[in-house]
Amino acid sequence: MHTDPRFLVEVGVLLLLLGAAGAVAWRIGLSAVPLFLLAGLAVGNGSLFPAPAAADFLSFASGIGVVLLMLTLGLEFSSAEFAQSVRRHAPSGLVDLALNATPGVVAGLLLDLPPAGVLAMAGITWVSSSGIVARTLVDLGRLGYRETPAVLSVLVLEDIAMAAYLPILVVLLSGGGLGGGLIGMAIAVGTVSVVLVLAGPIGPRLDRVLSHASAEQVMLRTLGLTLVVAGLAERAGVSAAVGAFLVGLAISGSTADKARHVLEPLRDLFGAAFFLSFGYHTDPRDMPAVMPAALLLAVVTAATKVVTGWYAARREGAGPRGRRRAGLALVARGEFNLVIAGLAVGAGIEGIGQLATAYVMVMAVGGPILARLSGQRRDTPRGPGTPTARSSATPG
């Protein structure tokens, strides 16, 4: 067996680059996603340090990366958590969709994109990054805060909605037209309900097949099953990402915990390859031209997310401070938005790749920063003349 030494060196250097970028991100408490994108831009076509031999690895690894990102996203939430989120926050989910998809639609129309491209833009501005948001809440020690269930519920609802949105998008992108889109929607709604209904009877059986005392067995079985389902889904025209996501939703309980644990390092490697490859295939010379549009979109959709969080946190009974924190926590966009952009780019829609790259870079950096700032500002103390609830409630 002969391995091209150039290939090994280039992939090795890329991984070192990712490691360094990740370490910087970890140090300053920010998501590594934007740095991975930058690293990709730095080694891609038309860049300063082109690494052509690594292209094969990136295209193969980023395919698995999308599957793993979607699988772990599906594994993240249990059906009890879905049920509670729907019960308590269904209106928040609708507000989230209406406020945050609209700027994407407007941007898509202004850019004169085809309908499928407009739909993709809607998704890109709509969903928050559950990875970045959850990590920020943990880092800032906000898990016990009043508004936190509202923030997490919005993330869960977006994830459920994605299970229906992605198949429709994929069908439209493949040129299915309106009829095809409706069929895609039927397939999507059908599959999602089948998965949610079958998760009851099939879940335990699936868990028995996948669970094993050895981590290696859990990893091989889960990954194997997911890749097969993802491949079949791709073949059936509903995209590998959707298939992997549905597998993640169907796995539950302790198997999900174990699978999450063993798949994490793999997801980190291949997920990083996905972000890298996204930057790699974007020409850095295009970036300055799309930056103003990306920034404008970022400002508008940051504001709409703040309103969404405000609304959701109010349903949870939080006061103004908690509502503001919830809104700012939700601003971050990340991996999911790039997966959507990747589907659109793959279908040959022009102009969406650069804009999405720039937009996600701004939002993945800006989101956690805004979330951090919102915690430090304290409300001004009440004036001496203002009556407070306390003076009447506590004697003496």
Binding site: E76, F77, S78, A80, E81, F82, Q84, S85, S130, A134, L137, V138, G141, R142, L143, G144, Y145, R146, E147, T148, P149, L152, S153, L155, V156, D257, G317, A318, G319, P320, R321, G322, R325, D379, T388, A389, R390
Partner: protein, 162 residues
């Protein structure tokens, strides 16, 4: 006491309660076993002060500290009223002859006069166990009797397999 429970999707469960002294306390039990403790500002529940984060082992220890002794304490109140009566917690030691056997086989009451009134296993309490109750090493037995009787039970539990 009223404890409200909220699922935190992807994170764990949040328990919330108010103490008699007026503090509102939140406990976040994360999926990985860590526990965060926060205290809410009574004037503005949006202001929460993180108090500490316990590792899974620390959380277990705290649970044990707060759990098992409370049962013995309640018996202590009872024994205070009856002179000569003592309550004690006795652990079934590693390698005890009675680990894995029914409690009745110890013949503790017949031999010492002391009664075993509860078996505490982890966070589970078996109140007024029957003689067929199996014992495991590490179980805490709550025994009531005279001081000599309790010492006798302790000695029986410490016996090694023949």
């Amino acid at each position: 006491m009223n404890v409200s429970e909220t699922l935190l999707p992807g994170v764990g469960i949040r328990y919330e309660f108010a103490t008699d002294s007026g503090e509102r306390v939140g406990l976040v039990a994360r999926r990985d076993g860590r526990v965060d403790v926060v205290v809410y500002d009574p004037d503005d529940l949006d202001v929460a002060t993180p108090v500490m984060t316990l590792s899974p082992a620390e959380a277990n220890t705290v649970a044990e500290l707060l759990g098992a002794p409370r049962i013995a304490e309640r018996f202590a109140d009872l024994t205070r009223e009856i002179p000569g009566l003592v309550a004690a917690q006795l652990e079934v030691p590693q390698g005890s002859r009675y680990a894995g056997r029914a409690m009745g086989e110890t013949r503790a009451r017949t031999l010492t006069g002391a009664s075993i009134v509860a078996v505490v296993r982890g966070d589970q309490v078996i109140a007024s166990p029957t003689p067929s109750q199996p014992l495991e090493s590490g179980d805490i037995l709550v025994a009531v009797g005279t001081a000599e009787g309790i010492a006798g039970v302790r000695e029986i539990l410490a016996r090694r397999p023949d």
